[in-house]
Amino acid sequence: MTATNKKIEVRNLFKSYQERRTRKRSPRDCPHQHECLVLKNINFSVAPEKFTCFIGPSGCGKSTLLRIIAGFEKPVAGKVLIDGKKVKGPSSKHIFVFQEDGLFPWMTASQNIALGAGKTSGPEERRKQVEEYLDLVGLKGFEKHYPHELSGGMRRRAEVARALITNPDILFMDEPFAALDYLTRLQMREEMLNVHAMFKSTILFITHDIDEALQLADQLIILSDRPGKIKADISLPYPHPRDLGTGELSRLRKEIYFLMGLHPAL
C-alpha cells in the first residue's frame, strides 16, 4: 500500500489506565501492577472512504481505541496518523458519536443539529441546512423537541444528523444502535449504508453484532479479550446488498463466530 492509500494509520499503540486502589501502597512495591493494560500493540490502517467495523468482547478496549484515534485520549506508546499527520487532539472534521447519549439535553433537536452547521454561512442558510438534515434522518416535525421528548431511535438519528451536517472527514461511531430494538437497528443499518454511499466519510464503527459488522463493513477488525490485541483484520470487498446466509459471507460468518469462541448454530 502506498502512503496516499492510508487515511488512518495506527502503529504499535499501547494504552493503560492507572488502577484505582482504595489502599495506598508504598511506591516501592511493584509499580507496574498499578497499571491496567487495555490495548496491547495495535497496528492497522484504514483506507479513505472505507467503512471499518470493530468487534470484540466487552471491556476489551474498543471505545478506548476509537477515543485515542479521535484525539480525546493519549496513548502511552505508539502513534496514530491521520492523513500522514500525528493526531494532536479532537477536530471538528472527525466527529464522534459516543456510546452514551451525546445530545445536549438542554437543546432542542434542531439546536443540537445546528451545532455542526457551517459556521461561515449566514443564519438563514444554516436554518435551511438544519432543516435538510432533520429531514434526512426523518425527524421533520420534531425540531422543537428536547432529547428527552424523542424516542431512543430518534435521539440516535438526531445525533447522526448532528455529525453528518459537519460533513465529517471521519465519522466515529461507538455502538450507536446498541440500545435500540432489533427492527429499528436493522433500519438504521440500512440508513448507515446510504449515508456512507452519500457522504463518502471514512467511518469507524464499533458493534457487538457480528451480523451487523458483516453487513456494513469494508474492513473488519476483531479484537481479543483484554488487553485488546488485534485478532483478525479482514477485508470484505463484497457488494451491497449482502446476504449473510449463502456463499463466501456465510463461511466467513461461521469463521468469525469460532474466532470469537462462539458457536454459530445453537
Partner: protein, 256 residues
C-alpha cells in the same frame, strides 16, 4: 386531574385553616396571656393597624429591596466565578480553601464589621446578604460544573465550541440543575439573614418591625410580622420554582 388540583391548592389551605382554628381554640381554652401568645384575631387586628399606618408595606418593601440587591449582586458574581473555577484547576486550588473557610462563618458575625464599614442603613444589610449568598452560590455552581457528564464536554470539544459559547451553551446549562438548587437555598438563607440583620443594623424592615413591636410589648404585631415574613419567603421560593417550569427549561425534568 381533580386530585392533583386539590392537592395543589385545597390541601395547603386546609392545613393553614386547621392550624389557625386550633391556635384560636388553644389560646381561648387555656386562657393564655396575650403577652405570651395572642390569638389569631388579635394578630389580625395588629396586622391591620400596621397596614393602615403604612409601615407594613414600607417595611416589607425595605426588606425585599435589601434582599433583592444583595442576592442579585451575589448571584451575578457567583455564577460566573463558579463556572470559571469549576473548569480551572489552579484557580480552584487558589480560592477553594478561602471559600470553604469563609463559608461557615455566619453572615451575622459580620454585622459589627459591616456597620463599621458602611454605617447604618441599607448598605450593611445588602453587604450581609451578599456574603450569605455569594459563597454558597459559588460552591453550588462549581459542583454543578463538576457534575457535567464528560461526554458533553467531549462533544463540545469535538464540535469546537470554545470561549463564550462554551460557557453559555455548555457549562451554564450543564450546571443549571445544581445552580437552581443553589438559587433556591440561597434565597431562603438570604431571607433568614435579612430579618436578623435588620434587628441590629437598621431602623426599618420586617426584622426591625418585630424588634420594635417587642419593645413596646405588642406581641400581636410580633406574630403578625412573623407571618408576613413567612408568606413573603413562600412567595420568593415560588418565584424561583417558576424558573423550573418555563417552556425553555422543561428539559430539567430528566434531572428530577
Amino acid at each position: 386531574m381533580r386530585v392533583y388540583r386539590y392537592s395543589k391548592y385545597l390541601y395547603p389551605t386546609l392545613t393553614f385553616l386547621v392550624l389557625t382554628v386550633a391556635w384560636a381554640l388553644l389560646v381561648r381554652l387555656l386562657h393564655v396571656s396575650p403577652y405570651k401568645m395572642p390569638g389569631p384575631l388579635a394578630v389580625t387586628r395588629g396586622l391591620w393597624h400596621l397596614a393602615l399606618s403604612g409601615r407594613l408595606f414600607d417595611y416589607t418593601i425595605a426588606s425585599l429591596y435589601r434582599v433583592t440587591w444583595g442576592y442579585y449582586m451575589a448571584v451575578a458574581c457567583a455564577i460566573p466565578a463558579g463556572l470559571v473555577l469549576g473548569r480551572w484547576g489552579t484557580g480552584r486550588a487558589l480560592f477553594n480553601p478561602l471559600i470553604q473557610f469563609l463559608r461557615p462563618i455566619s453572615p451575622l458575625a459580620w454585622i459589627p464589621l459591616a456597620m463599621m464599614w458602611f454605617g447604618v442603613g441599607d448598605q450593611p444589610a445588602i453587604f450581609l446578604i451578599f456574603l450569605s449568598s455569594f459563597f454558597p452560590m459559588v460552591v453550588f455552581t462549581m459542583s454543578g460544573v463538576a457534575g457535567i457528564k464528560s461526554t458533553y464536554l467531549r462533544v463540545a470539544e469535538n464540535f469546537g465550541i470554545r470561549g463564550t459559547a462554551f460557557y453559555l451553551k455548555v457549562l451554564l446549562p450543564g450546571a443549571f440543575p445544581d445552580i437552581l438548587v443553589g438559587l433556591r437555598i440561597t434565597l431562603g438563607t438570604a431571607w433568614l439573614v435579612i430579618v436578623a440583620a435588620e434587628m441590629i443594623a437598621v431602623k426599618s424592615g420586617l426584622g426591625y418591625l418585630i424588634l420594635d413591636a417587642r419593645n413596646s410589648l405588642n406581641m400581636d404585631q410580633v406574630i403578625g410580622g412573623m407571618i408576613i415574613i413567612g408568606i413573603t419567603g413562600l412567595c420568593l421560593d415560588r418565584a424561583i420554582c417558576m424558573l423550573e417550569n418555563l417552556d425553555s427549561t422543561r428539559w430539567l425534568k430528566i434531572y428530577r
